[in-house]
Symmetry: C5
Subunit: 338 residues, 5 copies
């Protein structure tokens, strides 16, 4: 174990997390100082795997010179805030991916970035604001010496696969939230918050899509480019990631489409509710209005109103009122207004 | 009959449903143990048709070695939950299709999967959660020895055709449901459930589309790829499936479009209903309000109100009220508010 | 005249409507029995034009053998219910078109199908559920011997042109219906049926589009395919049909777009109507409510209410009521609520 | 000046407006009779510019023979009502453009057509229902002999440029109408006509788009086709028209998009208005309803109602009413309902 | 320093801002009179960088002749009001970009234009209505002699990069405004201005998109065109701008999409508000209506109404009224109407 790996939280030298030299599918050397890689870089049978995290400019310049990287790619790697992309600088590939992590406590998504430099016999991975280290990937790679023997391209595949696999739980959470929203819309009474929740979920999907959709194109290039950087046996593996990206995209697409439909349906239901409120109101207004009208009539002060002198005038009026209300109630009930 | 075919429900050995060796368009041998296929795999005149259902890992590994399949494809075939796709691994094709079955009792669709490995002289079909066996397909294939003679590609066509044919009844059911919805929206009174029903139908279409639309691309590749795996005479047959896929897609597309239009129309009608409720309410409110007002006026306690002393004051007031109500009723009726 | 042509309604032998042999742009022979065509099929200077209507399976099998057609195409031709398409089977083209006829009495569209087999020296047209025979086309073709000399391709053009020309009146009817709807929406009072009418018109357009839009692709193929089946001089003519198809598509597209806009506008107007109903109701409610309130006040039973004893108390109260109502009316009128 | 040009309104011979023979960038001859062009058509150094307006069939047939034009193009040129298109008939191009003219008095657009036949040494322009003659274009062309020397292609460019330039004022008018609509929607009170005006403006844009958008494709072909009909130096000039077409399209696109947004915004505002009407109505209903209730209570006929006997009972009741109304008014005002 | 640079606001000679001759990555000469550039233009090792601002026609003609520019490009450069574009005139490129500057005081965007002529050994930049001069770009370029040595292409890159970098703050402002709108819609009470604000923000995005989106295509051409005008080492740098353009486009796209969603959500909330207003109104109407009804009943003038004579009739009636209102209030409260 090299001295700067010990503790992720410890102050790592320059931002290097781990560095090893591989030959014939095995890790043959743990690199403690960067200059040790020079020998490996000119040896066709070996390759260097260098893992960085939030490196400072000085380290990046050192690496640029040692590995012969293009100035523009190094600038991008330093500034981060790139969109996912694949760029070929002649003998080196520069790849940017987004990592996503759900911060469940705060109910938001944390977007990070991972950059890669892939050369003939080296792979450099640089994590920016992405919390999960690639130790598991290293373990898994070193457990497949036959594939690791094919060169640094397999390491690239392994890390990309690892990153893409982390998208699935995120999307499952989105789909669950959609299910909850559906339930709220169609089963429960309408709620004021529903439009806001649909809006937020859709915004989140737009954000994730911007991270995921360029992956399809990136994988396509990695599969098709007939370069010596990636062994032809490994190229099939990128098709696997390509497939995952398409599936994730489809899932996001249909979730988004369903959300739009849900908003429309919610809106339709609001209008139907309004209709029902109006009908109920109209019904009860009539049931209160008719007695008021009858009472008003018998409250007129005409000297000659025979009913007023009737012995049972008052019960008759009350009966009239009750009958009228009963009929109205029955009528509204039957026609579905109440 | 081989021993492990007898009963679908019986515990089949390893998940093998049926295995036969074909030559010159005829089934020449029923395979009881997998090792019997080895001889056929190196004979250009014969081909093996192996049918599996939910195979376990052990069997898949055995098959992988015996037929020389790619590790990634075997992994996909084991995990299932793939999207429909076509992948060429040099000398083998790996194809994934979705099967759909309407579970009418529970009013939902059951999605299954069928995977294929097509090689120079073998075809392997693997069913996952798809209930309908391919015994009919076998019967039909063996009835066309002239086409079966062309090799395993024809078997692939026959199974794909069988799967795609099962989509049509599903779509007919969707179209019938749309018709019912249309009737509800335009003929009957509006119902609270309509938006939910439209929403669910649309979701179902999205699900089916995700299963069906990749088929177009798959058939395209099977038609165009100029490989020796599929006889050129058989390629025309895949055009038939291609055609069906396009038709299914078009049907889904227009059903979906009609549903969107139906939701909008439904919404428009809700608004028109609201309008009518408001008008009716306004009309009756006036018809109740005017007598209340007149009665209120004759209920005032002024000492000097000549009408109150009239002999026919009371009938006059009632007459006034009835006339006013009658006029209002006539007026509202004419202008369509009642 | 061959014996089976006499009467469309008579029981035609096997479904053959007409069959002739053409050479150098002229009809040189009327075929009475199918076997007579064999000699023409092997003669490069002649071509056979065979017209069928709803043929039975037996006849189709006979034709398949005689003309050397592909089994799949024959199956399609028998089953009908195809979408419009172009398929090249090596030396033969198989083309499917939809015919549309407005059934004005029942206010619906009748969709039929016409299939074509075009070979080096034959053209077979098969009508399914399409009522209009191609006698006019035959007359027109035989009137242009210079073009008919170019071979069976010209006959294909002539029939396609005839079919496509029948689309235009259909679309004109749709456009007229749209005009009527526009008038209803913007000029007349709103009607409950408008959304349903818009919906139905849009569905009809979707149906027609499914029949027409594949035509563009079919013509494209007929124009581009550099095969000997269609003389290069004739290819320009298919551009004419291509042009018509694009125009029809555009007309359908804009009619559809206008319908969507009309639905939205109609909906907007419903909302505005609702607004106006509410305002009117509010205005009149106030005009009825205020007198009721004033009358109520003078209906209170306080012993000490000076106005009640006034000589002109009653006229004063009535004056108050009339003034209040007048002011309210004036106010609501000015602000557009009444 | 040839005899038949004198007066546009005079009965022109056969529909010919002007005809000239050009050589080395200069007009060398005014053609009076069509047969005079024959000599020029076989001379590589000269070209004929023939301008027609609504020609009759006889003239077109004469021209077809003389210039060797394709029958189908002549048919199109005669029937007019074509969509804008570019068609290459081997040695001749046939081009159709739409001309648009705003008829401000009747507030509608007049669509005309101009057809072109471009050959190796001739250009024929045919105006259909398009009122503006190309005299200005002729003047401008003849003022650039260096470009005119490049052949008939430059004349084509000059006329197309002239036609496209006339689109801009039309679009400016549309944009102004949009501005007026915006003002109406957001600044003034809502109006019943707004949805209809938005609808009409959108229909107009759809119409113009159908005339303009094919231009992009036409220019593209004129720029790319590597034919000898258009001098390579002139091809750059068509890029200019191409550019204009794209700009016009973009302007139409964004105007249309803004109109859709405006309709939505207008609809939103209608709903907000409805909200405000409802609130205002509710507020005033309460302010009228509460006094009615209080008055009703003091109108009850209980023998034992102490307030009725109070000396200041009546002022007290009035005070109660005024206070209640005042409080309600204050409360509704504060919460924005009034 | 050349004499005409001194002061941007001073009357510059002819519109020239600065002109220098560069060789081997260094500025070797400050040009005072245009004719001095002639010698540099024929020297492959040197290149001229000429900066103009709103040049007059005379100067442009001089430049056209001296640098051999195409007449059409010069015309465009003079008229300005072009859409962003890239045009190759053989040995020269003509490029148009839009500059955007937020005028915060007036809360609007100022759109300017910058045109470029790039030749083998010159670059001419022409600013139209764009306020920010390129002095900073010059400083930065001259600080990278290694890149400047690659020729005028690097200067083009540097200016384009400078212009594109100015888009980002504009977009950040838009995103902030969207955030504010979201807050208004979901947190505060609805406001009448919201639809107008959403509309205006969307219009602004459409305007910016029209300026930015053609950039992607322009960069693509600059990256791909294999011409000697741009050194192959410099081409990678245009990929950087390409990347920025795509990012800006994506940001605009998602902001626009969010705005559409926000408008819909806002509309949904307006409808929900309407619902709540209706319910509240209905509730209070009942609470006022019921006492009025009860009071009306006890205001009837029947001679025989026992309650009226009760000692506690009046308190009983009041109690009845209060109880009824209380029950209604409780009931409405519980069901969420109040």
């Amino acid at each position: 174990m090299c001295k700067f790996v010990k503790n992720e939280n410890k102050n790592r030298m320059n931002g290097i997390v781990d560095c090893g030299i591989y030959a014939h599918g095995r890790r043959i050397k743990q690199v403690d100082e960067l200059k040790e890689v020079d020998e490996a870089l000119i040896n066709n049978d070996k390759f260097v795997w260098l893992r960085l995290k939030d490196p400072d400019e000085e380290l990046l310049t050192d690496i640029q010179n040692r590995f012969g990287l293009h100035e523009l790619a190094i600038e991008d790697a330093h500034r981060a805030h790139q969109r996912p992309k694949f760029e070929s600088y002649g003998s080196t590939y520069f790849i940017v991916l987004r990592t996503i992590k759900a911060d469940e406590e705060q109910n938001r998504l944390d977007f990070g970035e991972t950059h890669f430099f892939l050369g003939k016999n080296f792979i450099i991975s640089i994590r920016h604001r992405s919390p999960v280290p690639f130790d598991d990937v290293r373990t898994r790679c070193e457990a497949s010496p036959l594939l690791l023997e094919k060169g640094a391209g397999f390491v690239l595949y392994a890390i990309m696969d690892f990153i893409v696999d982390q998208y699935f739980p995120i999307i499952n959470v989105l789909e669950e939230e959609l299910d909850k929203l559906e339930h709220k819309i169609f089963k429960e009474k309408y709620r004021r918050e529903t439009p806001a929740q649909i809006y937020r979920l859709k915004c989140r999907i737009i954000d994730i899509k911007r991270s995921v959709s360029p992956l399809i194109d990136i994988c396509n290039k990695l599969m098709r480019y007939d370069s010596e950087l990636i062994d032809s046996d490994i190229r099939n593996y990128f098709r696997d990631i390509y497939d995952h990206s398409i599936r994730i995209n489809e899932m996001l697409e249909s979730t988004k489409e369903q959300l739009s439909m849900a908003l429309e349906a919610n809106f339709s239901l609001t209008a139907i509710n309004q209709n029902e409120v109006s009908k109920k109101f109209a019904g009860w207004a009539a049931i209160i209005g008719v007695p008021t009208m009858i009472a008003g009539i018998y409250g007129m002060n005409f000297t000659n109103m025979p009913e007023l002198q009737w012995k049972y005038g008052y019960p008759f009026a009350i009966g009239l009122i009750v009958t009228a209300c009963g009929l109205l109630y029955y009528f509204f009930r039957r026609s579905g207004w109440l």
